[in-house]
Symmetry: C2
Subunit: 214 residues, 2 copies
């Protein structure tokens, strides 16, 4: 028992010695199941039993992988925000017009819905239920991401590329709101492809739906 290293998923640093590939794969399966159930039923609506059922194991066996349900939520949420900031920062750093940047930001926001939908949905909808410490951690990443968007818009206004009668913060909230709602209906009756939605949403944001030639 002295040197027994449990592979229990942790929020802090990685384990001192790298885990076997099989361990990491299984941990990832466990987290996938948690994300799926959290996304479907919400954090409080989902029981650890539900997660175990998806995996075909016993409820108590989950605790070999994480020490509490709250930690599981934190891990799912962190994987849900993961990459958003970087992807947005990459777009913002490009030498393209403000309009093209907005288009790129929308694309970058919607892209993860294709391969990490459950994680993203959980991050978007359940992060409010994180314990204070975790919420602060996730909120920090989230706010940094929002600031990138806001800056792109503010700079676009300053350069004259974007209208100056629109509040950058409200514009940011509008973009985020539109994109967030996509994760709610995507795959739930509506049958649009992500790239199509990104293209249309970017157009709505940039030129609106009004016909200028009317």
């Amino acid at each position: 028992m002295r040197s027994q290293r449990k592979p229990e998923l942790q929020a802090k640093g990685a384990s001192p010695r790298a885990a076997a590939p099989n361990q990491r794969r299984r941990q990832s399966e466990i987290l996938d199941a948690a994300a799926k159930v959290f996304a479907e039923r919400g954090y409080y609506g989902a029981s650890t039993q539900d997660i175990a059922d998806v995996l075909g194991i016993r409820q108590a066996s989950l605790y070999y992988y994480f020490s509490s349900k709250e930690i599981a939520l934190e891990l799912v949420c962190l994987k849900g925000v993961e990459g958003f900031f970087e992807a947005a920062a990459d777009v913002a750093a490009k030498e393209i017009s403000a309009a093209e940047k907005v288009h790129g930001l929308v694309e970058a926001h919607l892209a993860p819905l294709m391969d990490r939908a459950d994680y993203v949905k959980t991050f978007l909808n359940e992060r409010q239920y994180l314990p204070p410490a975790s919420r602060k951690k996730v909120g920090k990443l989230s706010r940094a991401y929002e600031k990138v968007i806001e800056k792109v818009i503010a700079e676009g206004i300053a350069s004259g590329e974007l209208r100056k009668d629109i509040d950058p913060r409200l514009m940011t909230l509008a973009l985020l709101g539109m994109c967030k709602s996509v994760s709610a209906w995507m795959g739930k009756g509506e049958s649009y492809q992500v790239p199509v939605v990104a293209e249309q949403y970017a157009r709505i944001l940039l030129v609106g739906i009004g016909n200028p030639r009317h």
Copy 2:
């Protein structure tokens, strides 16, 4: 005990004889408390004890007013959708331009956030947790509302007032998504007034943020 009529809140028809005004007032207070707690913590995150705490009464006393937590959610959600369809239909029936209609639809959607925020938030975020029968009832109202918006946009496109390169359904979802997110951040750090948001959001939807004179 024979003729004791409990004022228990019901989803179906109204009680055969009108209740005393005090009864109705108290029922409304109970529902306000439920809406507040559901909006704050979510349906499963909220306990009936939480609702009772807001009212300063015992948890079991709530069951004098509703027969189950699920029924309470249904009542809150119904009051949350209430009026949306009518308000939108009124806007759609007016003899104004499509652009003005879109503006009116945004205003009509955001207006209830001023005086019924908890009900609307609960409807928007918790309706998914309703039992099937209730969800069908609420979903019907909800879908009828969406159709009004969609029709306004489709007609605007047909008349040439709105761009024809935008999918009406996606446009509807964009409008709804933007407006839904408002209920999430309104009063939570952001300090915008509802009419200001409505004005800006309508502008974003209609003419976008791109500066046409650039």
